[in-house]
Symmetry: C2
Subunit: 405 residues, 2 copies
């Protein structure tokens, strides 16, 4: 049991559909332990610590907390401020002034780095502090954990969106037979790979997907799309915003945004706009694209219940570990062996998580670099919760023709 003291929790980096579930896991768990005094929330992450902007989470109603588990985005406010080394002195001064003994930070790599440095700064001052990281990222690129809370929900959204826009494309037929859908992921293709979870029959969308880990030539993209167009009459392609060519160069701006100046001139094309223009020119058909953007990480209505529950779990675990005297660690999810999907929580050193980036391994990508393997599907399937609701296609029994044309 840790010393009696106050707890502070913050959210950092891009929001997700379930990061508030982790926050509520922290609060609910903290409320169960007498060793914890005040439960403070950082307003906009470490920026809130630096500016002494804390809120008293014990004063939130039970109803608010319950609803918050189903509310997307970061209820405390998030931050992308990069701390300077001088900031850590100030951070420690503030934490000490508020008698904070438990520092829990929910976020991705950068947030783990921050939590690690807070731990080091406390150590250097001889101040007893338990600093823990709670994983969060739709990119699923944190190492030492089977997967990251936030990913399953974004994966479910992407699979849903690709299937829906895929059925739409199929219905349009010759009117606009090719569709690109841009998926989040500058370096990691986990989320784009999840589009494959939309597929039930072999010809289902997405017919193709491209991830940053496996660059392919634009020529291959054109040939891949042509193959599907000629075979089934249409083609739906999921593309990581950070997709690369065979030289490893990003095809688009990599940020999912076409930057235009005030006069409407493009500074640099995004990846789907570039691919759309090339395929249109080469195949001579109408090509369309979707850019669901921030909806991928914020659509609570399509969140994975499994993901939401795990997000809560890692929040709870962080409090328990801190009280048990653990510091400088991130909570991980460990998949249990056996036929039924189950996870337990574990621990990983913050510094090692901060310095690693867990990309999609080669064995999860097919040989051609335009799809995933069964091994990936087995990995990802349980994370999105129940399978997507079944759709129907007509059997289409043809009526014999009675006239010549």
């Amino acid at each position: 049991m840790g010393n009696k003291g106050n707890l502070v929790v913050g959210q950092s980096g891009g929001p997700t559909a379930v990061i508030n579930s982790s926050l509520v896991g922290v609060i609910h768990e903290a409320m169960q332990h007498d060793a914890i005094g005040a439960i403070y929330g950082m307003v906009h992450g470490v920026s809130g610590v630096l500016h002494e902007e804390f809120i008293d989470l014990r004063q939130e109603s039970a109803e608010t907390l319950e609803r918050l588990r189903y509310t997307p985005a970061s209820a405390l406010g998030t931050v992308r401020y990069k701390l300077h080394s001088a900031d850590y002195d100030r951070l420690l001064d503030v934490l000490m002034a508020y008698d904070v003994r438990y520092f829990l930070y929910i976020g991705g790599n950068d947030s783990m780095d921050t939590a690690h440095k807070v731990h080091l700064a406390a150590q250097a001052k001889g101040y007893e502090l338990y600093a823990l990281g709670v994983p969060k990222t739709v990119d699923n690129d944190l190492a030492y954990t089977d997967h990251c809370p936030g990913y399953g929900s974004a994966a479910r959204f992407v699979a849903t969106a690709v299937r829906d826009t895929g059925y739409d494309t199929e219905a349009m037929g010759e009117s606009s037979p090719v569709k690109f859908i841009e998926v989040m992921g500058r370096n990691a293709g986990w989320l784009t790979a999840a589009a494959a979870l939309a597929r039930v029959e072999p010809n289902d969308p997405p017919q193709l997907l491209y991830v940053p880990e496996c660059g392919v030539s634009l020529e291959q993209v054109v040939n891949d799309v042509r193959y599907w167009y000629e075979t089934i009459g249409h083609c739906v392609v999921a593309v990581s915003e950070g997709m690369r060519n065979e030289q490893g160069e990003e095809i688009g701006s990599g940020f999912g945004q076409v930057e235009l100046d005030a006069f409407g001139h493009a500074r640099k094309g995004g990846v789907v706009e570039t691919l759309e223009a090339i395929v249109k020119a080469e195949l001579g058909v109408r090509v369309r694209h979707d850019k669901p953007g921030y909806l991928q990480r914020s659509c609570a209505a399509l969140a994975s219940p499994v993901d939401r529950a795990e997000a809560y779990l890692v929040g709870q675990a962080a409090v328990r570990e801190a009280l048990a005297g653990v510091s400088d660690r991130m909570i991980t999810l460990e998949r249990q062996p056996g036929p039924t999907y189950a996870v337990t929580t574990g621990l990983a050193p913050l510094a090692e998580v901060a310095n690693a980036e867990h990309l999609l391994p080669r064995e999860y990508i097919n040989a051609a670099g335009n799809g995933v393997t069964e091994a990936f599907l087995e990995y990802a399937r349980p994370l999105i919760g129940e399978p997507l609701a079944p759709y129907a296609r007509l059997a289409k029994h043809a009526v014999p023709k009675r006239l010549a044309e």
Copy 2:
């Protein structure tokens, strides 16, 4: 009761999340009547008639039809082919060869025009045919009907998406405080207006919305965004793809797509890219955008149950009216007076529907042209089904500061 004969049904124009529900309504109803022989589906609308591509819908399983009610896009395939006057002779030859006496066409304005001309062509040949239109459009721009099947579901998607991306923007705070979301609608602002259904508290997203019916100057947009940014720290704006300036000129390409050539140069900027660049330059803050594109019309998971049921209802009604000897009419939805939302079906002349475009009336748009009125909200609220699931915001009781900075 009409003469015994066959029925043919087709889907036309852009798919929706519930157009298959109308199709199933037609099939289920047709199966109840001995007066109807074969039930044919046109493959890709009138193109299927011209090429004698029919499928036998009586051979579809009950399970397929039941699932189809929950499957987005057009299961028969849709078409955007514009018929030439010579095509109508061929159409009639085919319909007569297949002993078709009931011609049901599910679609928007153009489809109603087609159904009307099929009716006239049959009359001119003295061929007994009952041609009816079944309304469908996410744009909600068909006249003579209270609203259009397809709209409620797209409206629910837009409200959901705007709220989710709005919470995300609020969480980001100063990191990227302004967000534009591009909504379908080249001429009609109904769908963009539906974004306002996301709002529960006065400061909720969307803080602003712009529709094609009410052009505003770019200067006003900048000032509107600045007001919200300065007042609450962020601003989320729903924008019709066909948004116009004060001279009535489209701000973007109006088609929701930035057209780039094979070298990545923009031919013309889309509306949100243009607004993003201008606001970024004028306010000096990071601006982001989402373009959910075709997901707006295809997201079955977020479809409105009310809309799905009404889509089925208009399909059923078309069969019953055809059997009752009605032709050259579109099925309409008539809202019943009274405290509880309820509709019945009615009829409108196809030619009048085909020649009209029902835009958002001025009394549904606020005086400033950047939001909607309570009258619009009352009109639209019942169409999306149950209210969106409640979200929570923290009450944020501030902790008194203990240090100076």
